[in-house]
């Protein structure tokens, strides 16, 4: 509440919008006003927490076993003298999961640079290849080991889903990596990859927001980052206050959503059974 700059900025935005609204809201989809308000509230919560963290606010972060295991997996690979296989999903950079996967790759690359462990990143899209290479290059530079960086540690296999799965499986069976990480967007190939990784005895960590693939990863991998845990991975691994603040903001929004769900259920029950109140579903439905 002490962040006067933040509250002032919010106030200005609200006043400007109210003026715009009273002027007849030209070019505005009036039906989408609830969504805009929700987006503004959620965005503000995130920004508030980010600023709070930047100003020295301290938060408790629940330990996530899957993220703790990343360092453990790199250490295991180092001890065994075997590489780490990192799969950033099978989709392009237009998917947030792929972007999150590349970000986590940057952190993993820092660890492999620190422990002098080899890293193998087969990708299925050219743009992902370029982005992943840049992430790895910067990580090796930051760790002071540019000599260890090799462009071909991030290499392209194919765009095709099952051909890619076959290629990655081949790498697993031939090179027998000590750790396999699957972080990104996956489809049916998830189980093929994870089961092959399991068969070679690698420690496996998966992270995805592909809902249908989460059960497969939970079954076949040692650790799985489910949904939001995967998106929070960057904050956990980097320990940057501004990113950790965002995670706290997400949790606050989640609490707000739970409250909205409970209140909406009560309002809707009252409306449908006793005719009291209004149709909250009509209000909250995004058009």
């Amino acid at each position: 509440m002490k962040d006067k700059q933040f509250w002032l900025a919010n106030l200005v935005i609200i006043i400007v919008f109210l003026v715009y609204w009273m002027a007849g809201q030209p070019y505005f989809f009036v039906d989408r006003i609830v969504m805009l308000v929700a987006m503004f509230a959620m965005g503000s919560t995130l920004i508030y927490n980010v600023r709070f963290a930047k100003q020295g606010g301290e938060f408790y972060l629940r330990p996530i076993p899957g993220l703790k295991a990343v360092e453990e997996a790199v250490g295991r690979s180092t001890e065994m003298g075997r590489p780490i296989l990192y799969v950033p999903g099978i989709q392009d950079m237009d998917q947030v999961e792929t972007v999150a996967g590349v970000i986590v790759l940057g952190h993993v690359a820092k660890m492999t640079a620190r422990y002098e462990t080899s890293l193998n990143v087969p990708v299925s899209r050219s743009i992902v290849m370029k982005a992943a290479r840049e992430a790895c290059r910067e990580s090796y530079m930051l760790e002071g080991r540019p000599d260890m960086f090799n462009e071909d540690m991030v290499h392209y296999l194919t765009d095709d889903q099952f051909a890619y799965a076959a290629g990655v499986n081949g790498i697993m069976v031939r090179e027998k990596p000590a750790a396999c990480m699957y972080m990104g967007k996956f489809y049916a190939e998830s189980l093929i990859l994870a089961e092959t990784g399991n068969s070679i005895g690698a420690i496996q960590i998966a992270g995805t927001a592909s809902q249908a693939q989460i059960p497969f990863f939970v079954t076949a991998c040692d650790y799985t980052l489910i949904g939001e845990e995967f998106f929070a991975a960057s904050a956990y691994l980097s320990k940057k206050p501004e990113l950790i603040g965002g995670v706290r903001g997400q949790d606050m929004i989640k609490v707000a959503i739970i409250v909205v769900i409970i209140l909406s259920t009560i309002i809707m029950t009252m409306y449908e059974n006793f005719g009291i109140g209004f149709n909250v579903i009509e209000l909250l439905t995004v058009r």
């Binding site: 237009d94 940057g106 290849m129 099952f162 081949g170």
Partner: protein, 274 residues
């Protein structure tokens, strides 16, 4: 440095805000950009970038063959496949122009490219896909092993869903399930009390209650509904399952939103290596 740091962040911020706010702006040009142009721009860029990927692939495979690295024999297959696809795609159609023109030949029966697609690519893809059946079996075996309470719950729910969704599930009487529950509960009572008399009394009373209830109600196959497998599987599928899935979806949605906001505000800069 400005080209590697500030400019990319500026592009992400500007395009990000246009895309977010464009959703609320009722103006055809902005709507066109958000719904079509932006995605088409990405597709065009990705199409050009494929050359980079192909060059990288061929470079690594040729290096493997030249230096005879482990597994180089497989690289010969990869390079041959690559060359064959290019020849079939750009140089040899395998049919006359009257049958298929260049471009259309990739989908026309009888051409070399289509032959390759139908008789090499498709069967190979299908082979990989069909491996899933075996992997599902081995993964299910591991998941269903009774190790703790959660695994037991998973096993029981899995069996109910599987049996309840096939035709045989609907001919299993709910009374049979009730007898099964009484006997299973009897096992637990025996483990708990370690007294055969108590177990016998429990099972005898349970069976008697079920049997008397059956005679009273006339043994309807689907009554009481809570013991009828198709009804139970439907309840599990539509209530606990959907509740869990939706909670994960809310978390995912929030994660995507937070990540996007971090990007458009320039808080997250890992994508440019910072």
């Amino acid at each position: 440095m400005i080209w590697k740091r500030q400019i990319p962040i500026l592009i992400v911020t500007v395009v990000g805000w246009i895309t977010i706010l464009g959703w609320y702006i009722d103006e055809p040009t902005i709507q066109g950009f958000v719904n079509d142009d932006a995605t088409q721009w990405f597709d065009i860029l990705a199409s050009f970038a494929i050359i980079l990927g192909a060059l990288n692939l061929i470079k690594l495979q040729v290096q493997k063959i030249l230096y005879q690295k482990p597994g180089w024999i497989y690289s010969i297959v990869a390079v041959s496949g690559f060359v064959f696809s290019i020849v079939a795609g750009f140089f040899i159609k395998g049919v006359e122009d009257s049958v298929a023109k260049w471009g259309a030949h990739v989908t026309t029966d009888g051409t070399l490219f289509k032959w390759m697609f139908d008789y090499m690519f498709s069967p190979l893809s299908a082979t990989m896909f069909s491996l899933l059946a075996f992997f599902v079996a081995s993964a299910s075996y591991r998941a269903f092993r009774i190790r703790n309470f959660e695994a037991t719950l998973l096993l029981v729910s899995g069996i109910i869903i599987m049996v309840g969704r096939v035709p045989i599930g609907s001919v299993i009487s709910s009374w049979f399930i009730m007898y099964l529950i009484v006997l299973s509960a009897g096992i637990y009572v025996n483990i708990w009390k370690k007294d055969m008399t108590v177990t016998f009394i429990f099972v005898a009373v349970g069976i008697s209650i079920v049997t008397i209830s059956g005679f009273v109600m006339g043994w309807p196959i689907d009554q009481p509904g809570i013991f009828y497998l198709p009804a139970i599987q439907e309840w599990i599928y539509y209530y606990p399952n959907v509740a869990g899935a939706r909670s994960i979806m809310i978390g995912i949605g929030l994660g995507i939103f937070a990540t996007s906001i971090r990007y458009v505000l320039g808080i997250e800069r890992s994508y440019i290596g910072e």
